[in-house]
Protein backbone atom coordinates (compact mmCIF):
# COMPACT_ATOMS: atom_id res chain seq x y z
CA UNK A 1 0.00 0.00 0.00
CA UNK A 2 1.10 3.55 -0.59
CA UNK A 3 0.94 6.34 1.93
CA UNK A 4 -0.04 9.42 -0.07
CA UNK A 5 -0.84 11.93 2.65
CA UNK A 6 -0.28 12.48 6.35
CA UNK A 7 -1.90 15.17 8.46
CA UNK A 8 -0.73 15.88 11.98
CA UNK A 9 -2.03 18.28 14.59
CA UNK A 10 -1.02 19.07 18.15
CA UNK A 11 -3.35 21.40 20.01
CA UNK A 12 -0.43 22.99 21.87
CA UNK A 13 1.98 23.54 19.04
CA UNK A 14 0.54 23.41 15.56
CA UNK A 15 -0.29 21.39 12.49
CA UNK A 16 1.67 19.78 9.67
CA UNK A 17 1.19 18.39 6.21
CA UNK A 18 3.90 15.79 6.61
CA UNK A 19 4.67 14.70 3.06
CA UNK A 20 4.30 18.25 1.75
CA UNK A 21 6.58 19.50 4.54
CA UNK A 22 4.44 22.45 5.44
CA UNK A 23 2.43 23.53 8.42
CA UNK A 24 1.46 26.21 10.87
CA UNK A 25 1.69 27.01 14.54
CA UNK A 26 -0.99 27.38 17.18
CA UNK A 27 -0.51 29.96 19.90
CA UNK A 28 -3.20 28.85 22.30
CA UNK A 29 -6.41 26.90 22.82
CA UNK A 30 -8.44 29.62 21.14
CA UNK A 31 -6.30 29.28 18.04
CA UNK A 32 -6.94 25.52 18.04
CA UNK A 33 -10.70 26.08 18.17
CA UNK A 34 -10.49 28.83 15.55
CA UNK A 35 -8.96 26.46 13.01
CA UNK A 36 -12.42 25.05 12.50
CA UNK A 37 -13.67 28.43 11.31
CA UNK A 38 -11.00 29.27 8.83
CA UNK A 39 -8.65 27.57 6.48
CA UNK A 40 -8.33 23.98 7.58
CA UNK A 41 -11.54 22.82 5.91
CA UNK A 42 -12.31 23.42 2.23
CA UNK A 43 -15.74 24.66 3.21
CA UNK A 44 -17.45 25.50 6.50
CA UNK A 45 -17.97 22.53 8.80
CA UNK A 46 -21.60 22.56 9.86
CA UNK A 47 -22.05 22.76 13.65
CA UNK A 48 -18.34 22.21 14.27
CA UNK A 49 -18.51 23.96 17.64
CA UNK A 50 -20.93 21.28 18.90
CA UNK A 51 -18.54 18.41 18.27
CA UNK A 52 -16.78 16.86 21.23
CA UNK A 53 -13.03 17.33 21.60
CA UNK A 54 -12.10 13.98 20.05
CA UNK A 55 -14.29 14.59 17.01
CA UNK A 56 -12.68 17.99 16.40
CA UNK A 57 -9.22 16.47 16.68
CA UNK A 58 -10.06 13.64 14.26
CA UNK A 59 -11.72 15.95 11.75
CA UNK A 60 -8.73 18.32 11.75
CA UNK A 61 -6.36 15.42 11.13
CA UNK A 62 -8.47 14.01 8.30
CA UNK A 63 -8.66 17.43 6.65
CA UNK A 64 -4.89 17.79 6.85
CA UNK A 65 -4.26 14.30 5.45
CA UNK A 66 -6.57 14.90 2.50
CA UNK A 67 -4.87 18.22 1.85
CA UNK A 68 -1.43 16.60 2.07
CA UNK A 69 -2.59 13.99 -0.43
CA UNK A 70 -3.95 16.65 -2.77
CA UNK A 71 -7.42 15.15 -2.47
CA UNK A 72 -10.46 17.38 -2.83
CA UNK A 73 -13.67 16.46 -1.07
CA UNK A 74 -17.31 17.46 -0.75
CA UNK A 75 -20.01 16.16 1.57
CA UNK A 76 -22.39 15.72 -1.38
CA UNK A 77 -19.87 13.79 -3.47
CA UNK A 78 -19.58 10.60 -1.50
CA UNK A 79 -16.64 8.32 -2.18
CA UNK A 80 -15.88 4.76 -1.19
CA UNK A 81 -13.00 5.69 1.10
CA UNK A 82 -12.65 3.74 4.33
CA UNK A 83 -12.12 5.53 7.64
CA UNK A 84 -10.71 3.70 10.63
CA UNK A 85 -9.44 5.08 13.88
CA UNK A 86 -7.73 4.24 17.12
CA UNK A 87 -6.88 5.80 20.44
CA UNK A 88 -6.07 4.63 23.93
CA UNK A 89 -9.18 5.55 25.86
CA UNK A 90 -12.11 4.97 23.52
CA UNK A 91 -14.85 7.46 24.33
CA UNK A 92 -14.01 7.73 28.04
CA UNK A 93 -13.97 11.54 28.21
CA UNK A 94 -17.33 11.82 26.47
CA UNK A 95 -18.75 9.00 28.61
CA UNK A 96 -17.84 10.90 31.77
CA UNK A 97 -19.26 14.14 30.36
CA UNK A 98 -22.54 12.49 29.39
CA UNK A 99 -23.12 10.57 32.60
CA UNK A 100 -22.07 13.37 34.95
CA UNK A 101 -24.43 15.70 33.13
CA UNK A 102 -27.18 13.10 33.56
CA UNK A 103 -26.39 12.77 37.27
CA UNK A 104 -26.33 16.56 37.67
CA UNK A 105 -29.84 16.56 36.21
CA UNK A 106 -31.04 14.32 39.00
CA UNK A 107 -31.10 11.24 36.73
CA UNK A 108 -34.19 12.69 35.07
CA UNK A 109 -32.78 14.40 32.02
CA UNK A 110 -30.35 12.80 29.59
CA UNK A 111 -29.00 14.74 26.63
CA UNK A 112 -28.94 13.11 23.23
CA UNK A 113 -26.36 15.58 21.91
CA UNK A 114 -23.93 14.34 24.56
CA UNK A 115 -24.92 10.67 24.32
CA UNK A 116 -24.15 10.39 20.63
CA UNK A 117 -20.44 10.97 21.33
CA UNK A 118 -20.27 8.05 23.76
CA UNK A 119 -19.23 5.65 21.02
CA UNK A 120 -15.54 5.35 20.08
CA UNK A 121 -16.59 5.42 16.42
CA UNK A 122 -18.56 8.69 16.72
CA UNK A 123 -15.65 11.01 15.80
CA UNK A 124 -15.17 8.92 12.68
CA UNK A 125 -18.89 9.26 11.90
CA UNK A 126 -18.63 13.06 12.09
CA UNK A 127 -15.66 13.03 9.74
CA UNK A 128 -17.44 10.71 7.32
CA UNK A 129 -20.35 13.15 7.05
CA UNK A 130 -18.26 16.25 6.43
CA UNK A 131 -15.77 14.67 4.04
CA UNK A 132 -18.24 12.43 2.17
CA UNK A 133 -16.55 9.16 3.16
CA UNK A 134 -18.82 6.26 2.30
CA UNK A 135 -16.45 3.33 2.77
CA UNK A 136 -16.07 1.00 5.74
CA UNK A 137 -15.88 2.76 9.09
CA UNK A 138 -14.86 1.35 12.45
CA UNK A 139 -12.82 1.99 15.57
CA UNK A 140 -10.13 -0.48 16.53
CA UNK A 141 -7.77 -0.80 19.43
CA UNK A 142 -5.27 -3.51 20.41
CA UNK A 143 -3.77 -4.60 23.65
CA UNK A 144 -0.26 -4.41 22.17
CA UNK A 145 0.16 -2.01 19.26
CA UNK A 146 -2.96 -0.19 18.22
CA UNK A 147 -1.48 1.99 15.48
CA UNK A 148 0.41 -0.85 13.77
CA UNK A 149 -2.64 -3.12 13.97
CA UNK A 150 -4.74 -0.31 12.52
CA UNK A 151 -2.32 -0.13 9.58
CA UNK A 152 -2.74 -3.88 9.10
CA UNK A 153 -6.48 -3.33 8.97
CA UNK A 154 -5.90 -0.62 6.37
CA UNK A 155 -3.79 -3.00 4.30
CA UNK A 156 -6.50 -5.66 4.39
CA UNK A 157 -9.22 -3.15 3.55
CA UNK A 158 -7.25 -2.02 0.50
CA UNK A 159 -6.85 -5.62 -0.56
CA UNK A 160 -10.52 -6.44 -0.36
CA UNK A 161 -12.86 -3.58 0.15
CA UNK A 162 -11.84 -0.02 -0.56
CA UNK A 163 -9.59 1.84 -2.99
CA UNK A 164 -8.37 4.19 -0.26
CA UNK A 165 -8.22 4.23 3.52
CA UNK A 166 -7.86 7.06 6.01
CA UNK A 167 -6.42 5.80 9.28
CA UNK A 168 -6.50 8.15 12.27
CA UNK A 169 -4.83 7.89 15.63
CA UNK A 170 -5.50 10.44 18.32
CA UNK A 171 -5.08 11.23 21.97
CA UNK A 172 -6.16 14.18 24.06
CA UNK A 173 -3.57 16.55 22.60
CA UNK A 174 -2.74 15.35 19.11
CA UNK A 175 -3.93 13.41 16.11
CA UNK A 176 -2.36 11.99 12.99
CA UNK A 177 -4.22 10.79 9.92
CA UNK A 178 -2.62 8.64 7.23
CA UNK A 179 -4.11 8.26 3.77
CA UNK A 180 -3.33 4.96 2.06
CA UNK A 181 -4.06 3.69 -1.41
CA UNK A 182 -3.47 0.27 -2.87
CA UNK A 183 -0.59 -0.01 -5.27
CA UNK A 184 -2.50 -2.47 -7.40
CA UNK A 185 0.38 -4.88 -7.67
CA UNK A 186 -0.68 -7.63 -5.37
CA UNK A 187 -2.44 -10.79 -6.44
CA UNK A 188 -1.80 -13.02 -3.48
CA UNK A 189 -2.43 -12.90 0.22
CA UNK A 190 -0.19 -11.17 2.73
CA UNK A 191 1.83 -8.38 1.21
CA UNK A 192 5.21 -8.96 2.78
CA UNK A 193 6.28 -5.42 2.05
CA UNK A 194 3.35 -4.12 4.06
CA UNK A 195 4.35 -6.42 6.89
CA UNK A 196 7.88 -5.02 6.94
CA UNK A 197 6.59 -1.49 7.06
CA UNK A 198 4.09 -2.29 9.78
CA UNK A 199 6.76 -4.11 11.78
CA UNK A 200 8.89 -0.96 11.70
CA UNK A 201 5.97 1.07 13.02
CA UNK A 202 5.11 -1.46 15.70
CA UNK A 203 8.01 -0.39 17.91
CA UNK A 204 6.98 3.28 17.94
CA UNK A 205 4.44 4.98 20.18
CA UNK A 206 4.86 8.66 19.41
CA UNK A 207 2.48 9.83 16.66
CA UNK A 208 4.91 12.35 15.21
CA UNK A 209 7.62 9.68 15.22
CA UNK A 210 5.33 7.32 13.33
CA UNK A 211 4.41 10.02 10.83
CA UNK A 212 8.05 10.85 10.22
CA UNK A 213 8.85 7.18 9.59
CA UNK A 214 6.71 7.38 6.47
CA UNK A 215 8.52 10.56 5.46
CA UNK A 216 11.85 8.78 5.65
CA UNK A 217 10.53 5.89 3.58
CA UNK A 218 9.21 8.23 0.91
CA UNK A 219 12.48 10.14 0.82
CA UNK A 220 14.32 6.95 -0.01
CA UNK A 221 12.41 6.97 -3.24
CA UNK A 222 10.50 3.84 -2.36
CA UNK A 223 6.81 3.74 -2.04
CA UNK A 224 5.62 2.63 1.36
CA UNK A 225 4.98 -1.00 0.49
Amino acid sequence: MICCGIGYINRNSGWKLILSRSGGSLSDAAAFEALGRGGIFSYPFKNFARLDAASKMVCYAVALALKDAGESYAAETKRDIALIGTNAEGSLSSDITYFNDYLDGGRKLSRGNLFLYTLPSSPLGEAAIHFGLQGPLYYTMSAESSVADMFESASDLLLEEAPAVLAVANNENEAACFMFKGDGSREGTVASEDSAMIAAIREKVDLMDIAETFLLINEDGRTVK
Partner: protein, 382 residues
Protein backbone atom coordinates in the same frame (compact mmCIF):
# COMPACT_ATOMS: atom_id res chain seq x y z
CA UNK B 1 -15.30 -3.03 -7.01
CA UNK B 2 -13.87 -5.31 -9.64
CA UNK B 3 -11.52 -8.09 -8.69
CA UNK B 4 -11.72 -7.38 -5.02
CA UNK B 5 -12.36 -10.91 -4.03
CA UNK B 6 -9.40 -13.18 -3.62
CA UNK B 7 -10.55 -16.48 -5.04
CA UNK B 8 -9.28 -19.78 -3.86
CA UNK B 9 -10.74 -22.49 -1.69
CA UNK B 10 -7.76 -22.54 0.66
CA UNK B 11 -8.56 -18.98 1.62
CA UNK B 12 -12.09 -19.85 2.59
CA UNK B 13 -13.24 -18.89 6.06
CA UNK B 14 -15.54 -21.16 8.01
CA UNK B 15 -17.37 -20.87 11.30
CA UNK B 16 -16.65 -24.00 13.31
CA UNK B 17 -18.22 -23.26 16.69
CA UNK B 18 -20.17 -20.58 18.48
CA UNK B 19 -22.54 -19.97 21.31
CA UNK B 20 -24.62 -17.26 22.90
CA UNK B 21 -26.18 -16.13 26.15
CA UNK B 22 -29.32 -14.10 25.54
CA UNK B 23 -32.40 -13.03 27.48
CA UNK B 24 -33.81 -16.44 26.50
CA UNK B 25 -31.03 -18.08 28.47
CA UNK B 26 -27.89 -20.00 27.65
CA UNK B 27 -27.44 -21.36 24.16
CA UNK B 28 -28.34 -20.88 20.52
CA UNK B 29 -30.92 -23.61 21.01
CA UNK B 30 -32.75 -21.60 23.70
CA UNK B 31 -32.78 -18.50 21.51
CA UNK B 32 -33.85 -20.44 18.42
CA UNK B 33 -36.69 -22.05 20.33
CA UNK B 34 -37.82 -18.69 21.68
CA UNK B 35 -37.83 -17.22 18.19
CA UNK B 36 -39.65 -20.13 16.58
CA UNK B 37 -42.28 -20.03 19.32
CA UNK B 38 -42.79 -16.34 18.68
CA UNK B 39 -41.92 -15.33 22.25
CA UNK B 40 -40.43 -12.07 23.42
CA UNK B 41 -38.02 -11.71 26.30
CA UNK B 42 -38.72 -7.97 26.59
CA UNK B 43 -40.10 -7.20 30.04
CA UNK B 44 -40.01 -4.63 32.82
CA UNK B 45 -36.53 -3.60 33.92
CA UNK B 46 -35.84 -4.18 37.60
CA UNK B 47 -32.20 -3.11 37.49
CA UNK B 48 -32.67 0.67 37.72
CA UNK B 49 -35.43 3.26 37.92
CA UNK B 50 -36.99 3.84 34.50
CA UNK B 51 -39.61 6.39 35.51
CA UNK B 52 -37.84 9.22 33.67
CA UNK B 53 -37.54 7.31 30.40
CA UNK B 54 -39.61 6.58 27.32
CA UNK B 55 -40.04 2.95 28.27
CA UNK B 56 -39.70 0.76 31.32
CA UNK B 57 -38.88 -2.35 29.31
CA UNK B 58 -35.85 -4.17 27.93
CA UNK B 59 -34.68 -7.73 27.40
CA UNK B 60 -32.23 -8.66 30.12
CA UNK B 61 -30.37 -11.81 31.11
CA UNK B 62 -31.46 -13.38 34.37
CA UNK B 63 -29.21 -13.74 37.34
CA UNK B 64 -26.74 -10.91 36.69
CA UNK B 65 -25.65 -8.62 39.49
CA UNK B 66 -25.71 -4.94 38.55
CA UNK B 67 -22.91 -2.83 40.03
CA UNK B 68 -21.36 -5.87 41.60
CA UNK B 69 -17.69 -6.76 41.52
CA UNK B 70 -17.66 -7.90 37.90
CA UNK B 71 -19.23 -6.00 35.05
CA UNK B 72 -22.42 -7.32 33.49
CA UNK B 73 -20.60 -8.28 30.28
CA UNK B 74 -17.88 -10.20 32.11
CA UNK B 75 -20.53 -12.02 34.14
CA UNK B 76 -22.23 -13.00 30.89
CA UNK B 77 -18.98 -14.02 29.23
CA UNK B 78 -17.87 -16.01 32.25
CA UNK B 79 -21.10 -17.97 32.17
CA UNK B 80 -20.81 -18.41 28.41
CA UNK B 81 -17.21 -19.63 28.33
CA UNK B 82 -17.66 -21.91 31.31
CA UNK B 83 -19.69 -24.09 28.93
CA UNK B 84 -17.31 -23.75 25.97
CA UNK B 85 -16.02 -27.28 26.40
CA UNK B 86 -12.40 -26.82 25.29
CA UNK B 87 -13.31 -26.22 21.63
CA UNK B 88 -11.47 -22.91 21.50
CA UNK B 89 -7.77 -23.28 20.66
CA UNK B 90 -5.39 -21.28 22.81
CA UNK B 91 -3.70 -19.79 19.74
CA UNK B 92 -6.87 -18.18 18.37
CA UNK B 93 -6.52 -14.45 17.72
CA UNK B 94 -9.09 -12.58 19.74
CA UNK B 95 -11.35 -9.86 18.39
CA UNK B 96 -13.79 -8.35 20.88
CA UNK B 97 -16.79 -6.38 19.66
CA UNK B 98 -18.75 -4.04 21.88
CA UNK B 99 -20.19 -0.54 21.98
CA UNK B 100 -19.89 0.17 25.69
CA UNK B 101 -18.05 -2.77 27.23
CA UNK B 102 -17.89 -2.52 31.02
CA UNK B 103 -19.72 0.82 31.20
CA UNK B 104 -21.48 -0.25 34.40
CA UNK B 105 -18.11 -0.13 36.17
CA UNK B 106 -17.76 3.52 35.12
CA UNK B 107 -21.34 4.19 36.23
CA UNK B 108 -20.54 2.76 39.64
CA UNK B 109 -17.52 5.05 40.04
CA UNK B 110 -19.34 8.16 38.90
CA UNK B 111 -22.34 7.41 41.11
CA UNK B 112 -19.95 7.16 44.04
CA UNK B 113 -18.34 10.45 43.06
CA UNK B 114 -15.03 8.81 42.27
CA UNK B 115 -12.54 10.48 39.97
CA UNK B 116 -10.03 7.64 39.92
CA UNK B 117 -10.69 5.40 36.93
CA UNK B 118 -8.15 2.72 37.77
CA UNK B 119 -9.69 -0.66 37.24
CA UNK B 120 -11.65 0.57 34.24
CA UNK B 121 -10.71 0.89 30.60
CA UNK B 122 -10.49 -0.82 27.23
CA UNK B 123 -7.16 -2.47 27.93
CA UNK B 124 -8.45 -4.08 31.11
CA UNK B 125 -11.63 -5.12 29.34
CA UNK B 126 -9.61 -6.93 26.66
CA UNK B 127 -7.49 -8.64 29.32
CA UNK B 128 -10.60 -9.89 31.08
CA UNK B 129 -12.18 -11.13 27.85
CA UNK B 130 -8.98 -12.96 26.89
CA UNK B 131 -8.82 -14.49 30.35
CA UNK B 132 -12.39 -15.82 30.42
CA UNK B 133 -12.07 -17.02 26.82
CA UNK B 134 -8.86 -18.86 27.64
CA UNK B 135 -6.79 -17.57 24.73
CA UNK B 136 -3.16 -16.44 24.79
CA UNK B 137 -3.67 -13.53 22.42
CA UNK B 138 -4.12 -10.19 24.15
CA UNK B 139 -6.73 -9.22 21.62
CA UNK B 140 -8.06 -6.34 19.65
CA UNK B 141 -11.29 -4.41 19.93
CA UNK B 142 -13.54 -3.49 17.03
CA UNK B 143 -16.30 -0.97 17.61
CA UNK B 144 -18.66 0.25 14.90
CA UNK B 145 -21.74 1.17 16.88
CA UNK B 146 -24.47 -1.43 16.40
CA UNK B 147 -22.55 -3.00 13.51
CA UNK B 148 -19.63 -3.84 15.82
CA UNK B 149 -20.00 -7.60 15.79
CA UNK B 150 -20.52 -7.86 12.03
CA UNK B 151 -17.52 -5.60 11.50
CA UNK B 152 -15.51 -7.83 13.84
CA UNK B 153 -16.48 -10.96 11.91
CA UNK B 154 -15.60 -9.19 8.66
CA UNK B 155 -12.23 -8.14 10.13
CA UNK B 156 -11.51 -11.64 11.41
CA UNK B 157 -12.39 -13.22 8.08
CA UNK B 158 -10.18 -10.69 6.29
CA UNK B 159 -7.26 -11.56 8.57
CA UNK B 160 -7.63 -15.23 7.74
CA UNK B 161 -7.90 -14.58 4.01
CA UNK B 162 -4.85 -12.32 4.19
CA UNK B 163 -2.89 -15.17 5.75
CA UNK B 164 -2.26 -13.32 9.00
CA UNK B 165 -3.77 -16.15 11.01
CA UNK B 166 -5.81 -19.31 10.53
CA UNK B 167 -8.02 -18.95 13.58
CA UNK B 168 -9.96 -16.03 15.04
CA UNK B 169 -12.25 -15.97 18.04
CA UNK B 170 -14.83 -13.20 17.78
CA UNK B 171 -16.42 -12.30 21.11
CA UNK B 172 -19.26 -9.80 21.34
CA UNK B 173 -21.05 -8.36 24.35
CA UNK B 174 -23.13 -5.43 25.52
CA UNK B 175 -25.43 -4.89 28.48
CA UNK B 176 -28.53 -2.93 29.50
CA UNK B 177 -27.36 -0.21 31.83
CA UNK B 178 -28.79 3.08 33.03
CA UNK B 179 -26.10 4.82 30.95
CA UNK B 180 -27.23 3.24 27.70
CA UNK B 181 -30.95 3.18 28.45
CA UNK B 182 -31.03 6.86 29.38
CA UNK B 183 -29.14 7.67 26.20
CA UNK B 184 -31.47 5.84 23.84
CA UNK B 185 -34.41 7.39 25.66
CA UNK B 186 -32.93 10.86 25.16
CA UNK B 187 -32.88 10.17 21.42
CA UNK B 188 -36.57 9.16 21.56
CA UNK B 189 -35.62 5.82 20.04
CA UNK B 190 -37.48 3.44 22.35
CA UNK B 191 -40.84 1.79 21.87
CA UNK B 192 -42.94 2.26 24.96
CA UNK B 193 -43.76 -1.44 25.22
CA UNK B 194 -41.82 -3.73 22.89
CA UNK B 195 -40.22 -3.42 19.46
CA UNK B 196 -42.26 -4.36 16.41
CA UNK B 197 -39.83 -4.66 13.50
CA UNK B 198 -41.27 -3.84 10.09
CA UNK B 199 -44.73 -3.38 11.58
CA UNK B 200 -46.96 -0.68 10.12
CA UNK B 201 -47.45 0.71 13.64
CA UNK B 202 -43.88 0.35 14.89
CA UNK B 203 -42.60 3.19 17.04
CA UNK B 204 -39.14 2.33 18.30
CA UNK B 205 -36.69 -0.25 19.52
CA UNK B 206 -36.34 -2.25 22.70
CA UNK B 207 -32.90 -2.62 24.18
CA UNK B 208 -31.46 -6.01 25.01
CA UNK B 209 -28.25 -7.52 26.30
CA UNK B 210 -26.32 -10.59 25.28
CA UNK B 211 -22.91 -12.14 24.90
CA UNK B 212 -21.73 -14.47 22.15
CA UNK B 213 -18.67 -15.98 20.59
CA UNK B 214 -17.87 -17.37 17.15
CA UNK B 215 -14.78 -19.35 16.17
CA UNK B 216 -13.58 -18.74 12.62
CA UNK B 217 -10.96 -20.85 10.91
CA UNK B 218 -9.37 -21.22 7.52
CA UNK B 219 -10.87 -24.13 5.64
CA UNK B 220 -7.49 -25.82 5.69
CA UNK B 221 -7.19 -25.75 9.45
CA UNK B 222 -10.79 -26.77 10.00
CA UNK B 223 -10.27 -29.75 7.71
CA UNK B 224 -6.98 -30.66 9.35
CA UNK B 225 -8.56 -30.59 12.82
CA UNK B 226 -11.68 -32.44 11.73
CA UNK B 227 -13.89 -29.56 12.85
CA UNK B 228 -17.62 -29.55 12.38
CA UNK B 229 -18.43 -26.62 10.10
CA UNK B 230 -21.44 -24.47 10.94
CA UNK B 231 -21.14 -22.51 7.73
CA UNK B 232 -18.86 -20.45 5.57
CA UNK B 233 -18.31 -16.70 5.68
CA UNK B 234 -18.46 -16.17 1.95
CA UNK B 235 -18.01 -12.41 2.00
CA UNK B 236 -18.75 -9.12 3.62
CA UNK B 237 -19.23 -5.45 2.88
CA UNK B 238 -19.09 -2.34 5.02
CA UNK B 239 -19.98 1.24 4.31
CA UNK B 240 -21.00 4.50 5.92
CA UNK B 241 -24.04 6.61 5.05
CA UNK B 242 -21.99 9.81 5.53
CA UNK B 243 -25.30 11.53 6.11
CA UNK B 244 -26.33 11.93 9.76
CA UNK B 245 -25.07 10.75 13.12
CA UNK B 246 -28.29 9.10 14.28
CA UNK B 247 -30.70 9.02 11.36
CA UNK B 248 -30.15 6.55 8.52
CA UNK B 249 -29.87 7.75 4.95
CA UNK B 250 -33.28 8.34 3.38
CA UNK B 251 -31.96 7.01 0.09
CA UNK B 252 -30.51 3.85 1.71
CA UNK B 253 -27.40 4.48 -0.38
CA UNK B 254 -25.00 3.31 2.32
CA UNK B 255 -26.68 -0.01 3.02
CA UNK B 256 -27.13 -0.62 -0.71
CA UNK B 257 -23.37 -0.19 -1.08
CA UNK B 258 -22.61 -2.58 1.80
CA UNK B 259 -25.02 -5.21 0.44
CA UNK B 260 -23.63 -4.91 -3.07
CA UNK B 261 -20.05 -5.22 -1.88
CA UNK B 262 -20.88 -8.20 0.32
CA UNK B 263 -22.65 -10.09 -2.46
CA UNK B 264 -19.89 -9.29 -4.95
CA UNK B 265 -17.19 -10.35 -2.51
CA UNK B 266 -18.97 -13.66 -2.05
CA UNK B 267 -18.83 -14.28 -5.78
CA UNK B 268 -22.63 -14.31 -5.95
CA UNK B 269 -25.43 -12.33 -7.50
CA UNK B 270 -28.32 -10.84 -5.57
CA UNK B 271 -30.61 -13.52 -6.96
CA UNK B 272 -28.56 -16.18 -5.16
CA UNK B 273 -29.37 -14.85 -1.68
CA UNK B 274 -32.03 -17.06 -0.13
CA UNK B 275 -32.93 -15.06 2.97
CA UNK B 276 -32.04 -11.91 4.85
CA UNK B 277 -31.48 -11.46 8.57
CA UNK B 278 -32.25 -7.77 8.84
CA UNK B 279 -31.09 -5.28 11.44
CA UNK B 280 -34.82 -4.59 11.91
CA UNK B 281 -34.72 -2.47 15.06
CA UNK B 282 -38.38 -1.44 14.98
CA UNK B 283 -37.66 2.26 14.55
CA UNK B 284 -39.57 4.08 11.86
CA UNK B 285 -36.49 5.17 9.94
CA UNK B 286 -34.21 2.14 10.23
CA UNK B 287 -36.76 -0.37 9.03
CA UNK B 288 -37.87 1.93 6.22
CA UNK B 289 -34.26 2.43 5.15
CA UNK B 290 -33.53 -1.29 5.20
CA UNK B 291 -36.58 -2.31 3.27
CA UNK B 292 -35.81 0.30 0.63
CA UNK B 293 -32.30 -1.09 0.31
CA UNK B 294 -33.58 -4.66 0.05
CA UNK B 295 -36.04 -3.67 -2.69
CA UNK B 296 -33.30 -1.96 -4.69
CA UNK B 297 -30.71 -4.72 -4.35
CA UNK B 298 -32.89 -7.81 -4.53
CA UNK B 299 -35.78 -6.72 -6.74
CA UNK B 300 -37.87 -9.79 -5.89
CA UNK B 301 -39.13 -10.54 -2.40
CA UNK B 302 -37.41 -13.19 -0.29
CA UNK B 303 -37.71 -14.07 3.39
CA UNK B 304 -36.62 -11.28 5.72
CA UNK B 305 -36.74 -11.50 9.49
CA UNK B 306 -35.54 -9.61 12.55
CA UNK B 307 -34.82 -11.07 15.99
CA UNK B 308 -34.95 -7.74 17.83
CA UNK B 309 -38.62 -8.00 18.75
CA UNK B 310 -37.70 -11.17 20.66
CA UNK B 311 -34.40 -10.41 22.38
CA UNK B 312 -34.22 -6.66 21.98
CA UNK B 313 -31.49 -4.69 20.28
CA UNK B 314 -28.32 -6.10 21.82
CA UNK B 315 -26.19 -3.31 20.30
CA UNK B 316 -22.61 -4.44 19.79
CA UNK B 317 -23.61 -8.08 20.15
CA UNK B 318 -26.47 -7.95 17.65
CA UNK B 319 -24.47 -8.93 14.57
CA UNK B 320 -22.98 -12.01 16.19
CA UNK B 321 -26.29 -13.23 17.58
CA UNK B 322 -27.83 -12.74 14.16
CA UNK B 323 -24.97 -14.54 12.40
CA UNK B 324 -25.32 -17.51 14.76
CA UNK B 325 -29.10 -17.59 14.27
CA UNK B 326 -28.67 -17.34 10.48
CA UNK B 327 -26.24 -20.28 10.61
CA UNK B 328 -28.90 -22.19 12.54
CA UNK B 329 -31.49 -21.21 9.94
CA UNK B 330 -29.17 -22.55 7.23
CA UNK B 331 -28.94 -25.85 9.07
CA UNK B 332 -32.68 -26.10 9.78
CA UNK B 333 -33.62 -24.84 6.32
CA UNK B 334 -36.17 -22.55 7.87
CA UNK B 335 -36.23 -18.96 9.02
CA UNK B 336 -37.85 -17.73 12.21
CA UNK B 337 -40.80 -15.37 12.35
CA UNK B 338 -40.31 -11.71 13.10
CA UNK B 339 -41.43 -11.59 16.71
CA UNK B 340 -43.39 -8.45 17.53
CA UNK B 341 -44.69 -8.08 13.99
CA UNK B 342 -48.48 -7.97 13.74
CA UNK B 343 -49.34 -6.03 10.58
CA UNK B 344 -46.45 -5.61 8.14
CA UNK B 345 -45.71 -2.20 6.73
CA UNK B 346 -46.87 -2.00 3.11
CA UNK B 347 -43.26 -1.96 1.89
CA UNK B 348 -42.45 -5.11 3.79
CA UNK B 349 -45.55 -7.18 3.12
CA UNK B 350 -44.12 -9.79 0.79
CA UNK B 351 -40.86 -10.02 2.68
CA UNK B 352 -41.52 -10.41 6.41
CA UNK B 353 -43.83 -12.81 8.21
CA UNK B 354 -45.37 -13.48 11.60
CA UNK B 355 -44.69 -17.17 11.06
CA UNK B 356 -41.60 -19.24 10.49
CA UNK B 357 -40.96 -20.23 6.90
CA UNK B 358 -39.40 -23.23 5.25
CA UNK B 359 -36.54 -22.73 2.83
CA UNK B 360 -36.19 -24.69 -0.42
CA UNK B 361 -32.81 -26.03 0.69
CA UNK B 362 -29.51 -24.69 1.94
CA UNK B 363 -29.22 -21.23 0.39
CA UNK B 364 -26.83 -18.32 0.94
CA UNK B 365 -27.93 -15.84 3.57
CA UNK B 366 -27.05 -12.24 4.26
CA UNK B 367 -26.99 -10.60 7.69
CA UNK B 368 -27.26 -6.81 7.80
CA UNK B 369 -26.58 -4.33 10.57
CA UNK B 370 -26.49 -0.57 10.85
CA UNK B 371 -25.61 1.91 13.57
CA UNK B 372 -25.02 5.44 14.78
CA UNK B 373 -22.55 7.37 12.74
CA UNK B 374 -24.13 5.86 9.62
CA UNK B 375 -22.26 2.57 9.75
CA UNK B 376 -23.53 -0.39 7.71
CA UNK B 377 -22.28 -3.96 7.55
CA UNK B 378 -23.41 -7.01 5.62
CA UNK B 379 -22.06 -10.57 5.95
CA UNK B 380 -22.84 -13.38 3.50
CA UNK B 381 -23.05 -16.89 4.92
CA UNK B 382 -23.55 -20.29 3.41
Amino acid sequence: MEGRRIQGDALGVVAVAGEMLTPFGYGTQACWRGLMEGRTAVSKIERFDTSAFQSENAATVEGLKYHGTDSLVIQMLSRLFAEADAVIPRDALLIAATTKGEIDLLEKKLLAGQRDFNGYGQGLFLQRVASVAGVKDKGMLVSAACSSASAAVARGAAMIRAGRTDCVLVVACDSVTEFVFSGFSSLMALDRVSARPFDADRSGLSLGEAAAWLLLMSKDRALHEGRNVLGEVLGSGMSDDANHMTGPSRSSEGLILALTKAISSAGLSAADIGFISAHGTGTLYNDEMEMRAFRVVFENARPVYSVKGAIGHTMGTAGLIEILIALRALKEKQVPPTVGLQRPDADAEEWVSTAGRELPGRVPAIVTNAGFGGVNAAVVLY
